[in-house]
Subunit: 412 residues, 2 copies
């Protein structure tokens, strides 16, 4: 990967070796949308029976590609995904929608598929018009050329990412091994002039689109929707799950309650959570990876609200950057979550050291012990609310001077 930015200290050692998924062809080029020499345009084509599930940003100012995906997603079929970096085609009005239309027309003509089987994603600068010709003239090349690697596709979707992101898993169903491969880009919604989380997941387990949708929604809730860098939401967030139908099952899976889905669910969660955590590790300026576990709550919803309130607190995130066991800020963030709780039942630990127990600091509390533990790159905050049996986990990173430097000083 051409290294535009200094690699995050939390980056994994290397990109994993992702498996080929039968029925999926990868194709990547440098088209010249924004930067010189960067891979910036990928076309992924799929065999005929491919089903797809789609989760999109909830932004009320979505990009033109998101508006298109929203339109076709209920059909549940996919033959192609075309994705570019360098320009988000967001807030570009009718001109932006026309670019998507022309792109889809060209892809469907070259692949020989329906228009509603062509998915489009764009990531990069918001508000600038995307040059349609660059995209449409590249499509014949992309269709003809030899297969690219997962690394190349993962690289082509990056904007200010400091490392490329991939994850894999597999599961055995009816004595056959099925694979899952996924790539992603983003680091929360925190990019200068850009802002997108994209994730594309592929499997050879044949599944109908209604089941794919339900599985994806559940998995996204506990992965991409359980991370935060700065609480900002992109205009382009898109997560797609493709099932290539290149292999068959003796007896097809037709109901969400099918016991054979249990193992697939676990594998899917594993891939999505792995990618989500990598996105947090690439949070701009991040120096610590933070896990926030909220336990013993009345409902998952409340547990998640409290966890996100702590994870989004600038005061908590700066305290962790400064390795400061400033637990009063955690109390503050729990309190501001808007959830009704009993202060007298709340207990807090940081990296397994008990700090408060049922509403007040523990008797033998030694700040220096916690401060020492906070020198770790991994910070785990356990919050016990003491009013129920539900729980939620959220991942985030610290807030450092480097974040401000990148976002205030850097001009993309």
């Amino acid at each position: 990967m051409t290294q535009k930015f200094k690699k995050s200290p939390l980056a994994p050692e290397s990109f994993p070796s992702l498996p080929n998924i039968q029925g999926i062809k990868l194709s990547t080029i440098h088209s010249g949308i924004r930067y010189k020499n960067n891979l910036d345009l990928s076309l992924i084509t799929m065999n005929e029976k491919t089903n797809v599930a789609c989760v999109l940003t909830k932004s009320s100012t979505p990009s033109a590609p998101v508006i298109w995906c929203k339109k076709i997603k209920n059909v549940g079929k996919a033959r192609a995904l075309i994705v570019n970096s360098g320009n988000a085609n967001a807030h570009t009005g009718n001109k932006g929608l026309k670019t998507v239309k022309d792109t889809v027309d060209q892809v469907s003509r070259y692949i020989g598929c329906k228009k509603n089987e062509v998915y489009v994603c764009s990531t990069g600068v918001i508000g600038e018009f995307l040059n349609t010709d660059i995209i449409t003239s590249s499509i014949p090349k992309l269709v003809k050329q030899k297969s690219s690697s997962w690394e190349e596709v993962a690289e082509s979707i990056c904007t200010t990412d400091t490392f490329i992101k991939g994850a894999k898993s597999n599961c055995i169903i009816d004595d056959t091994k099925y694979k899952i491969a996924g790539i992603a880009k983003g680091s929360g919604m925190i990019f200068p002039n850009m802002g997108t989380m994209l994730a594309f997941i592929f499997t050879d387990l044949p599944l109908p689109s209604n089941i794919l949708n339900k599985l994806l929604k559940e998995a996204v809730e506990k992965s991409f929707n359980s991370i935060t860098v700065d609480g900002d939401t992109s205009t382009s967030d898109t997560c797609l799950l493709f099932s290539s139908h290149s292999k068959s099952l003796n007896k097809p899976i037709e109901f969400i309650g099918d016991y054979r889905l249990k193992l697939f669910r676990e594998s899917l969660d594993k891939v999505l959570q792995n990618l989500a955590k990598q996105i947090v590790c690439d949070g701009e300026g991040a120096s610590k990876f933070i896990t926030i576990n909220v336990n013993s709550v009345k409902s998952y919803k409340i547990a998640k609200e409290i966890a996100l309130s702590v994870a989004n607190s600038s005061l908590v995130k700066t305290a962790i950057a400064g390795e400061d066991p400033n637990w009063g800020r955690i109390i503050m963030a729990i309190g501001k979550s808007g959830s009704l709780i009993k202060q007298d039942s709340v207990s807090i630990s940081i990296n397994k050291i008990k700090i408060t127990y049922k509403g007040a600091v523990v008797a033998n509390y030694k700040e220096e012990v916690v401060a020492k533990k906070m020198k770790s790159k991994n910070i785990v905050i356990d919050i016990n609310i003491g009013t129920g049996i539900e729980k939620a986990t959220v991942w985030t990173c610290d807030l450092t001077k480097e974040y401000i430097k990148i976002n205030a000083d850097y001009r993309s």
Copy 2:
């Protein structure tokens, strides 16, 4: 004021000369709660008929003093306000509640008033026990000593504020001049180890507590509830409005619809908005004062949601710190507010320069013109949603490296 921190570049030139409010006595000392030589404890006593209105933090982890104020606020009578800085008496369990009880007992004994007429506020470190003896032994001194000045009281409530905050106004009702004087502390909820916004407003216009409450609630909504520094909410936020009943009206004001309240409302708004803006100007690390006007919206509620979403976006705030006309981030923040809007109707200006019009960038947009305007200390973002007639304004400050430095590196 003992200057612990470098004065904010956005601080006003000087503390205003606040009027005496008949029937109100100010008394301030250094008691030694946390810092040496700092004024840190004030007792404000009021004459017998004083009515009071109270707005408190919505935090579900409120401090012991907030729990007490919540209990007595519906009585609507006040004879004393005792307030300390240096320790918030928050998350201190039963021991913290006992400290408040002992304080109230002592004040009511020395003043000769009911316990439910004694208001208590504390600001400072969260989670440490407040030394009750220091407070109770200081009460006789505070009662006996000569009057202190507004400046001294304003100073005694400060924690990491870089300047003391006061505002005044007056209005003429039935040919008589009535005065309003107010002091405040805080800078959003962004203090290291501390977190509080306190505001105390005094008037000699005689008003019943039900009217005071309604007026205060309205005024707070458009002042203290329309500012944000980092979106964090304190465990101790308290705003009190006292009416000393030291003067009389020929015909008392008994209904909220009384036409004579119009002028008082305006004066009260002026004082609260002035104090609220000073708090933003003291936002940690702030280098720019930002006004966000959201116009032409279906309801005030939606307008406010959009304005707060922009004001709380780290991406928008860092872009402004970097004097970068990165308007895509404003679009992103509008989109993430959760409010249903029509993207095609949205227009944005920064410091009066039109940037987007009805959903796309204006034809003759010149980034360098906006960049130049953004060198100002005052940034005004006008957002026209184009779907209604309601509007809202929110004030905030930029997010700078200095903010991180103060909150990550500083240990109080």
